[in-house]
C-alpha cells in the first residue's frame, strides 16, 4: 500500500520535471541555420580540395611547374604542365587540373610543394550531377579569384 502511493507521487513529480525541461527548451533560441539562405563560417582548418594560393605581392600563384605534386600524388589525379617562354626565368604554368573524383584528400601534394604554392580550399558545396563537374581547373580558379 505504501509503495502504491509513493510510486504515484514520485511518478507525478518526474512528469512535472519533464514538463519543466521541455518548456525551458521551447524558449531557448533556435540553433538551426537556414542553410541555403544562411551559411556558417568555415574554419580555416577545413581541408577541402587543393587550391593554388594567390600571392599578395605578385598577384599570381607561386607554382614553378616542377611537377612534384603530380609525381607525389598516390591517386594520380593531378596534372601539371608548364612551358619555357622567352625572357621569363623558369617555366610558366599553363595547366593545373585536379580530378576530384579520384582525390583522397591525403594532402601529400601540399606537403611536397617546394614553394608552398598549394593549400586546402574552404570549398564544401560540392554537389554535382555529372562526373565532369569534379574535374577542377585549379589554374583557372586562381586566376578568377579576387
Amino acid at each position: 500500500m505504501k509503495s502504491y502511493f509513493s510510486e504515484l507521487f514520485t511518478g507525478a513529480w518526474s512528469l512535472i520535471l519533464g514538463l519543466k525541461v521541455t518548456i525551458k527548451t521551447m524558449f531557448t533560441p533556435i540553433v538551426t541555420v537556414q542553410y541555403p539562405r544562411e551559411k556558417l563560417e568555415i574554419t580555416p582548418n577545413y581541408r577541402g580540395h587543393i587550391d593554388l594560393i594567390k600571392d599578395a605581392e605578385t598577384g599570381t600563384h607561386k607554382c614553378i611547374s616542377c611537377g612534384s605534386c603530380q609525381r607525389e600524388c598516390p591517386s594520380d589525379c593531378i596534372v601539371v604542365v608548364g612551358e619555357k617562354r622567352e625572357g621569363v626565368k623558369g617555366k610558366v604554368l599553363t595547366k593545373f587540373t585536379l580530378d576530384f573524383t579520384k582525390c583522397s584528400l591525403c594532402g601529400a601534394c601540399v606537403e611536397v610543394c617546394p614553394t608552398k604554392a598549394l593549400d586546402y580550399s574552404n570549398e564544401y558545396e560540392l554537389a554535382g550531377d555529372a562526373r565532369s563537374d569534379f574535374y577542377f581547373d585549379i589554374l583557372k580558379r586562381v586566376e578568377e579569384r579576387k
Binding site: T22, M26, I30, T32
Partner: protein, 328 residues
C-alpha cells in the same frame, strides 16, 4: 442565438450552426496542425515549418491541397465498403457535439437537458471508426492498432465519466450551459482538482494522443490503424482527431474552467467566446506540450494506470463529493 431564434426560421438557424461547426472543424485543424508542428520544432530546438509563407504559416494549406490531390489506394484484400466508411465515421460525428458546446452565454447551437451525455456518446463513435478502419484494412499493424484503441478507449471512458459525474452531482444538471453558469463565483477546477486531473489524463487517452498514442505507435505499428489509408481518407482521420481534441478540451473548459466566464468585455453574451476559446487553446497547448515531452507508455502500464489508479481515485472522489453535497 436566442435573439436569432425569434427572427429567423429554425431551418436557417440549423444551416448557420452547421456552417459554424464546419468552420470550427477545419479552422481548428489548420491552426492546430500548424501550432503542433511549430511547437514540436521549438521544443526540439528547431524552427519547424519555415518555407511556405511567413514562418511557414501557409504550410497546412499546401499540405491540404496535396492530400486532396492524392489517390485513394484501397488494398486488394481490404473490405472495401467498410474501408471507405471508416474515415467518414471518424469525421462525421464530430459536428454534433460542436452544436451543443456553449461558447458564450448566447453562442450555442442547441441547449438540451442531456448535453453531456450526447457529447460523450458521439465522442465514443470514434472508437468504432478506428476499429472498422483497422479491421477492414486487412493489415496486421492496422488490426493491432484497432485492438489497442478499443481496449484503451473503453477503459479510459470510465474514469472520464466518473470524474465528470462528480461535477454533475454538484450542479444537478447535464445541461452544459447550466454547468458553465454554475461556476460564476469559483471554477470547479478549484473545488474538484482531482476530478480535473483525472479528466485531463483520460482526455489524452481518449483522443489517442501521446503518451497514450498506442493505436498509432509508429515505432511498433508503422502508423497503426491508418497504415493503409492515403490522401483524403487519411486526412479525415486527422481532421477527426483534431476536432475531437477541440471537443474534449471544450468539455474540460465547460466543466472545470468556468466556460466563457472571465474579465467582462463589451457585448459579453457573445464576446465571452473569446475567453472560452482562450481556455480551450490553453488546454490544447498543454496536450501538444505533453505529447512532445513524454515517451509512449507500454500497453500494460497504460491499462494498469487506468484500472489501478484512475478508476479507484475517481470513485473515491465521487463518493466524497456525494457525501459533501448531501451534508451541505
Amino acid at each position: 442565438m436566442e435573439t436569432l431564434h425569434s427572427i429567423l426560421p429554425e431551418l436557417i438557424r440549423i444551416v448557420i450552426c452547421a456552417i459554424g461547426g464546419a468552420v470550427i472543424v477545419f479552422g481548428n485543424a489548420l491552426v492546430m496542425g500548424y501550432a503542433e508542428r511549430k511547437l514540436a520544432g521549438h521544443i526540439m530546438l528547431r524552427p519547424g515549418p519555415m518555407e511556405v509563407g511567413w514562418h511557414g504559416i501557409l504550410q497546412l494549406v499546401v499540405d491540404g491541397i496535396k492530400l486532396m490531390g492524392k489517390q485513394l489506394v484501397v488494398p486488394k484484400q481490404a473490405d472495401k465498403p467498410l474501408y471507405m466508411l471508416a474515415p467518414i465515421l471518424a469525421f462525421a460525428p464530430v459536428f454534433a457535439p460542436l452544436l451543443l458546446i456553449p461558447f458564450s452565454d448566447k453562442l450555442q447551437g442547441f441547449d438540451i437537458d442531456v448535453g453531456m451525455l450526447v457529447i460523450l456518446a458521439f465522442a465514443s463513435i470514434n472508437v468504432l471508426a478506428i476499429l472498422i478502419g483497422g479491421w477492414s484494412s486487412n493489415n496486421k499493424y492496422s488490426l493491432f492498432g484497432a485492438f489497442r484503441s478499443v481496449a484503451q478507449n473503453v477503459a479510459y471512458e470510465i474514469p472520464m465519466l466518473i470524474s465528470l459525474l462528480a461535477v454533475v452531482f454538484m450542479t444537478n444538471t447535464f445541461s452544459l450551459r447550466e454547468i458553465a453558469a454554475a461556476q460564476s463565483p469559483v471554477w470547479f477546477v478549484l473545488l474538484q482538482p482531482l476530478a480535473f486531473l483525472i479528466y485531463i489524463v483520460a482526455m489524452v487517452a481518449e483522443t489517442n494522443r501521446a503518451p497514450f498514442d498506442l493505436p498509432e505507435a509508429e515505432s511498433e505499428l508503422t502508423a497503426g490503424f491508418h497504415t493503409e489509408y492515403s490522401g483524403m481518407s487519411f486526412s479525415l482521420f486527422v481532421l477527426g482527431e483534431y476536432a475531437n481534441m477541440f471537443i474534449v478540451c471544450s468539455v474540460a473548459t465547460v466543466f472545470f474552467l468556468g466556460g466563457s466566464s472571465g474579465i467582462p468585455l463589451p457585448y459579453f453574451e457573445y464576446t465571452g467566446a473569446l475567453w472560452f476559446l482562450l481556455k480551450v487553446y490553453a488546454l490544447m497547448f498543454f496536450l501538444v506540450w505533453i505529447r512532445w515531452t513524454y515517451p509512449r507508455t507500454r500497453f500494460d502500464q497504460l491499462m494498469n494506470f487506468c484500472w489501478k489508479y484512475l478508476i479507484p481515485f475517481s470513485l473515491v472522489n465521487l463518493l466524497i463529493t456525494v457525501v459533501v453535497v448531501k451534508l451541505i
